[in-house]
């Protein structure tokens, strides 16, 4: 960024200011790197202490039948990935759960964004819909998983539906708020410049709401995974939820942990993808404002 700064600047004063700023930069970079190193060292130490502690307590004091232990979980994971699970290859289970979550996420997010923005801009509709939305949001949505099993059967669509419902509400409320908080000045300016209603929506409302929407997308993929896994708990013939449910049925605590770890890794990878997309789309934001969003 600072390179681009210097190359395009043709104004003496600005160039000088940039130079002055960059004089202190190496020092700052080194300090920041050292700090990052320390943070990671402490994190690693915490994980090692925790794992060793767990392993020792489970070996000498508590019953590993209930609490399992790190080595048992590790060997369960190794077993799954090298020999497969009771229901076939682990990759099949991952693929099934991921597919359900991704479909649910995509449909829920698109529906949430579209409906949120439309209601955010249409005062009358929003007023009409307000109590219904409040009521729908108050329904314990996890329970819907059971209903969807009856409606759509044991296959994939019931899980997609559960994931979708969870994602929809998370995204909807943020998109709604984002569309409402659009700067009136920007809309007026665009209209004066000649924008039609559609153009205002496309070039002003949607970009303004994007920061709000991304804030919800971070947690939304987590919700999609929860929806898929809970759906599989309720009834399924494939998937990570089934694997975890089966582990529960056979008192295999190591299996539950192992399933948990696989789901967590999926969620983290998705979170990383979403953060990357966000950084690309919200490049225009000043660094100070975007710094507290990226984790």
């Amino acid at each position: 960024m600072s390179g681009e700064h210097l190359s395009t600047v043709d104004n003496g004063a600005v160039a000088m200011a940039a130079e002055q700023r960059s004089a202190g930069v190496p020092d700052l970079v080194a300090r920041r790197r050292r700090r990052r190193g320390a943070v990671w060292a402490v994190r690693l130490a915490a994980v090692v202490v925790w794992l060793v502690g767990w392993q020792l307590t489970a070996t000498y004091w508590i019953d590993p039948f209930y609490y399992s232990k790190p080595t048992a979980i590790w060997s369960r994971l190794v077993g799954w990935f090298s020999h497969g699970t009771a229901f076939g290859s682990i990759w099949t289970q991952i693929a099934v759960t991921l597919e359900e979550a991704v479909f649910g996420f995509a449909i829920g997010a698109v529906a949430g964004v579209v409906l949120g923005i439309v209601l955010g801009r249409a005062r009358f509709l929003a007023e009409v819909a307000a109590p219904f939305i409040k009521a729908a949001n108050a329904v314990p949505r996890i329970v819907l998983a059971s209903l969807f099993i009856i409606w759509f059967g044991l296959g994939m669509s019931s899980k997609v539906a559960t994931a979708m419902v969870l994602v929809f509400f998370a995204v909807f409320f943020n998109a709604f708020q984002g569309a409402r908080e659009v700067d009136r000045n920007l809309v007026d300016n665009a209209r004066i410049l000649g924008a039609s209603r559609i153009s205002v929506l496309r070039t002003i409302v949607v970009p303004s709401a994007t920061s709000w929407i991304f804030a919800s997308l971070h947690s939304a993929f987590g919700f999609a995974l929860i929806g898929a896994v809970v759906g599989e708990f309720t009834g399924a013939d494939k998937g990570l939820g089934l694997l975890i449910n089966n582990a529960q049925g056979t008192f295999d605590s190591a299996g539950i942990y192992a399933g948990m770890i696989v789901v967590t890794v999926l969620a983290l990878v998705a979170e990383w993808l979403i953060s990357t997309a966000e950084k690309r789309l919200l490049r225009w934001r000043p660094p100070a404002a975007s710094a507290d969003v990226q984790t």
């Binding site: 395009t8 000045n185 920007l186 410049l193 000649g194 924008a195 002003i204 225009w284 934001r285």
Partner: protein, 267 residues
Amino acid sequence: MNDPVIELRGATKRFPSGSGPAHTAVRELTMQVAAGEFVAVVGPTGCGKSTTLSLVSGLEPASEGEVLVRGERVRSIPRGVGYMFQNDAILPWRSVLDNVAAGPRYRGASKAAARAKAATWVERVGLAGFAKYYPHQLSGGMRKRVALAQTLVNEPEIMLMDEPFSALDVQTRALMQDELLRLWAGTGAAVVFVTHDLEEAIALADRVVVMTASPATVKGVFAVPLSRPRNVEEVRLTAEFLEIYREVWESLRVEVARAREEASRVG
């Protein structure tokens, strides 16, 4: 004089207030602006200058009276209107170039054509090296220039400017005033320029409209018979300028004092 481009006939604007009676922002406004004329509007703060512009732009309907643009009643945003708002209104998610290209894009130009047109205006307002910058990387004065280019790129026949330079330091302001006069000369556009700064008003305008304290109405209109082209820095020092200044200030002073009195009584 030929037919006025902008005409207000007894225009009144009331805003609904949360409780009690509606708040009257401007009342019984009557004024005219001819094609190619530069009119400055001065008045105490909060008197209703921005409201007047919003009536002409069609963003707000008049509660009473008539607002005419090219002899037709204003119902929506009239064709050929440009409006530089008092507050920053450029898009933070677009680069300087794309901000300026917004107008032509909205009016149906292709992306390439809009950008080419925008590039010449970015250059004209002196931001050629900053075309790829985002607004948050610019200074306040540079952002005002972006807004100016964004308005001018549409080649408006009517330009409404709401204190466009009030946030700038004295030197930059003088620079921008000269630039505005240079860019405006020969366009034949009618300009309504709202400002707090009486010197600025006289240096730029053909006529100065003085408004009363809130709720505003037109108190007086003063002709500025200074020759063009003008150099803003130099014209300030001439005897004619000072004479006009004294005359207008005499009228404005009373209103400013009244507005201050009222504000302290309410506050």
